[in-house]
């Protein structure tokens, strides 16, 4: 069982105040710390658990700058056998373009696989599309939002997809295929600093992203960055209890949680 897992190094923007610079052309990420994309962390953990049970290997692949080596080391510390870095400094916003680079890479380097795991989306661009686009380009079956893998056989898997409102959908997909993993599918193991240091001893292969440029065009263009409309302080609801309650129910209706 050969599993490929894609993992990405992303800026940890959850807590940060971000500034748009360069007249709308850039976002200042210079002071933002980086970390592994949460979804990819779950994907690596799931892949490693599967090979721990069924045998086989996990290969972690990352497309990004040289610093992305960090997430490869982390994947290795979690149990991946090796890591490949498709090194590129260029930021491709278009998920279609990114998927094409990966498609070219897999073809050119004849990377063998039984299944490809990705995270549902990445925390920075939140597109949630590379997995599906890649699957279609490779002509492979695809399943996304996987919240549980109930069976993993040599030629197919049975997976549960997370739908809205707590409902799940159980599907069967044939392998080879592409599986996008949703957060919460498992509890990723903790990777200690010493564990990551040990993982540094495993060689990570570096490939130059430029070599996989064929037909890579951006079909969408980023015009500029903009701030969302700012929400201010808490809006206080005042007046009689009766009126407040009705206002509260109105808010709940607007948010779609109460009919």
């Amino acid at each position: 069982m050969n599993l490929l897992v894609f993992t990405k190094r992303v800026p940890a923007t959850q807590e940060e105040e971000l500034r748009i610079v360069d007249e709308g052309r850039g976002v200042d990420l210079s002071k933002v710390p980086f970390k592994v994309n949460d979804w990819d962390n779950y994907a690596v953990e799931e892949a490693v658990r599967i090979v721990e049970k069924t045998g086989g290997t996990v290969t972690a692949i990352s497309m990004g700058d040289a610093e992305s080596d960090e997430v490869l080391r982390r994947a290795i510390a979690m149990g991946a056998k090796d890591g490949f870095l498709i090194e590129t400094d260029q930021i491709l916003h278009d998920p279609g373009a990114r998927a094409t680079v990966i498609q070219n890479f897999l073809k050119k380097e004849s990377v063998p696989f039984d299944a490809i795991f990705t995270g549902v989306q990445s925390e920075d661009d939140q597109f949630g599309a590379v997995g599906g686009i890649l699957a279609a380009k490779l002509g492979l079956p695809f399943v996304s939002m996987v919240i549980g893998i109930d069976a993993f056989e040599s030629d197919h898997i049975i997976a549960r997809r997370e739908l809205e409102g707590g409902l799940q959908e159980k599907v069967k997909i044939m392998l080879p295929g592409v599986i996008s993993i949703q957060t919460g599918i498992n509890e990723p193991r903790y990777v200690s600093i010493m564990g990551v240091r040990k993982a540094s001893k495993v060689e990570r292969k570096i490939f130059k992203g430029k070599e996989y440029d064929d037909n890579v065009n951006s079909t969408i263009e980023l015009v500029k960055w903009a701030y969302p409309v700012r929400k201010g302080e808490a809006t206080m609801l005042n007046g009689e209890l009766d009126g407040i309650c009705k206002e509260l129910l109105g808010i709940l209706k607007e948010k779609g949680v109460y009919q």
Binding site: E123, Q126, I133, F142, V171, L252, Y258
Partner: protein
């Protein structure tokens, strides 16, 4: 003849409310709106599209990306290519959209929450929703978008009599098949999955008040959760604790009743979409994180809410 194709999401025989957002953005695009639906006995609310194409397959087959591309192929062969194909930004919608975009080599922008008619620019949120990227299609040809629920439904326009068409049967893909739906287990409550949390804190007073909160939660279809002191005192089980030493939650609505907002609690819920705080103390730190605040007695508010909702 260009048109906008809206792929409807029908689940468990329900034409999802968020389809209206897809139709809404289609209205802004000002072309004929073609709604693509599966077979089934469901009701399509409103009269907001020009053409409805009903396929001969049920919802589970329809929403399978491997089949959907065949459906699309047939439509484009008979009607020509649409300008834009719209999906809901949801579990199924995004899954379909990405597969379609990859198969037909179409540009894709997901989670669109705004659109500028003049410049044809789609707004898409980035970086934990703190920045928007404004995207435009490069080149011509159909493009694919998924739209964020709640973003466009006010733009739907009443249309005249709708034309219907049918799409005949086709060979089903074998690479992926639907097995069954799985309901949520009624075991330990999983507060991390709830869309609406009604959370109680020390301020509610004592354990006897919990039953009434449980009742209110039932009426509002909310899930009950609590802060650490409430769990420490065993008013609620550990599985329902929100905070640094409990669970971290991000529901659509977090209604905090009688919770002061200690740091360790805030850490567990501050990213909720909408935080409504009810507390007697106007200085309670939770008001610094809330979107809406009510200064008052949580128990009294609870009782009034119950009266109104029951009546």
């Amino acid at each position: 003849m260009s048109y906008t194709l809206v792929a409807a999401e029908v689940r468990r025989g329900v034409f999802e409310e968020r389809n209206l957002d897809s139709i809404g953005i289609a209205a802004l695009l000002q072309k004929d709106i073609v709604l693509l639906v599966p077979e089934g006995a469901y009701e399509i609310k409103g009269n907001f599209v020009n053409i409805i194409i009903k396929t001969a397959v049920n919802e589970e087959i329809f929403l399978n990306p491997l089949n959907f591309i065949t459906i699309l192929e047939k439509i484009m062969n008979s009607r020509g290519k649409p300008d834009v194909i719209v999906f809901t930004h949801s579990s199924s919608g995004t899954e379909l959209a990405s597969y379609v975009a990859g198969h037909f080599n179409m540009p894709l922008v997901t989670d669109v929450s705004g659109f500028d008619k003049e410049t044809n620019v789609f707004y898409k949120s980035y970086y934990s929703d703190k920045i928007f990227g404004e995207f435009r299609q490069a080149g011509n040809g159909p493009c694919v978008v998924t739209v964020r629920s709640g973003s466009f439904k006010e733009h739907v326009i009443e249309k005249g009599p709708v034309e219907t068409a049918a799409l005949e049967d086709f060979a089903l893909a074998e690479g992926r098949t639907f097995i069954e739906y799985v309901e949520e287990e009624k075991g330990d409550v999983d507060i991390t999955k709830a869309e609406f949390l009604l959370s109680v804190g020390r301020g509610i007073g004592n354990k006897d008040e919990i039953a009434d909160y449980q009742e209110l939660a039932g009426f509002l279809r909310a899930t009950l959760s609590g802060s650490r002191p409430v769990i420490d005192k065993m008013w609620l089980p550990k599985a329902q604790q929100v905070g640094t030493s409990g669970k971290t939650v991000k529901p659509k609505v977090y209604l905090a009743m009688g919770i002061s907002g200690a740091f360790q609690h805030i850490a567990g819920m501050k990213d909720s979409d909408c935080i409504i705080a009810v507390n007697k103390d106007p200085e309670a730190p939770i008001f610094q994180y809330a979107h809406y605040g009510i200064i008052g007695d949580a128990n009294k508010l609870r009782d009034k809410l119950k009266d109104i909702v029951k009546g």
